[in-house]
Amino acid sequence: MSHFTPLSSLFGGVIIGVASLLYLQTNRGICGISSIFKECLTLNGFSTRFFAKSAFILGLISGGAAIAFFHPASMEFSFERPLWLLLLAGFLVGYGTALSNGCTSGHGVCGVGRVSPRSLLATLLFLAIGIATASLYPLLFSK
């Protein structure tokens, strides 16, 4: 457990929760990033809704830029997976989140926070499968 960072995890987690609540209060919706991004891809026309969803994504990227400047260690990493696997992973993430209408933010944070049975199940499932996949991969393939 040499990499365990309990305090920054706690602090960051609370901020994520607050951001999601602020979104709910001002946008009256679940702060599910997969759904927000998907709407950016699929909404017709330049409605307020489209601009609001796009603004959220731009906010994420801007936040990323701020972190790269003020807390660069979080953004300095190299991939330990071949590119083709990352592409496959991306496709599965996209397909799966669209099918289940949510991801770690929509189901894992908001849905669990709402104590929604659907989200609780979805979260347990993607955690279990995520753990199984990540644990088996290095055993089956040399890193």
Partner: protein, 131 residues
Amino acid sequence: MLPIISSFICGLLFAIGLGISQMTNPNKILGFLNLFGDWDPSLLVVFAAASTTYFIGYRWVVDRSITSSLEKFLSQKKIIDLRLIAGAAIFGAGWGLGGLCPGPALTDIATLKPEIILFIVSMAAGMLSAR
């Protein structure tokens, strides 16, 4: 106009939360998901802190008119079905393979890493394929 400005601020704040907790680093995520490595429970703490904060705010801070109409709206959206189960499993597999999910991946666009851009293009393709 308010939804657009507040959405931007929420995205900004959310990304800062991800960055502070290092959830933007896929290796940090895989450090939790891979039980056989140098196991790192940080992600669990992030989830617990975020969902607990949301739970408290959802019940006691956000306007009741907003939460009750949201609950009404969401209760129409069904029961637990195959789409939910299969979707969650497929998402989990993708997450376990790459250590990336939508939020951190989009935030990581700021790193300008080509792998991130390609991941997102692939993710978009997957989302559009599921319709």
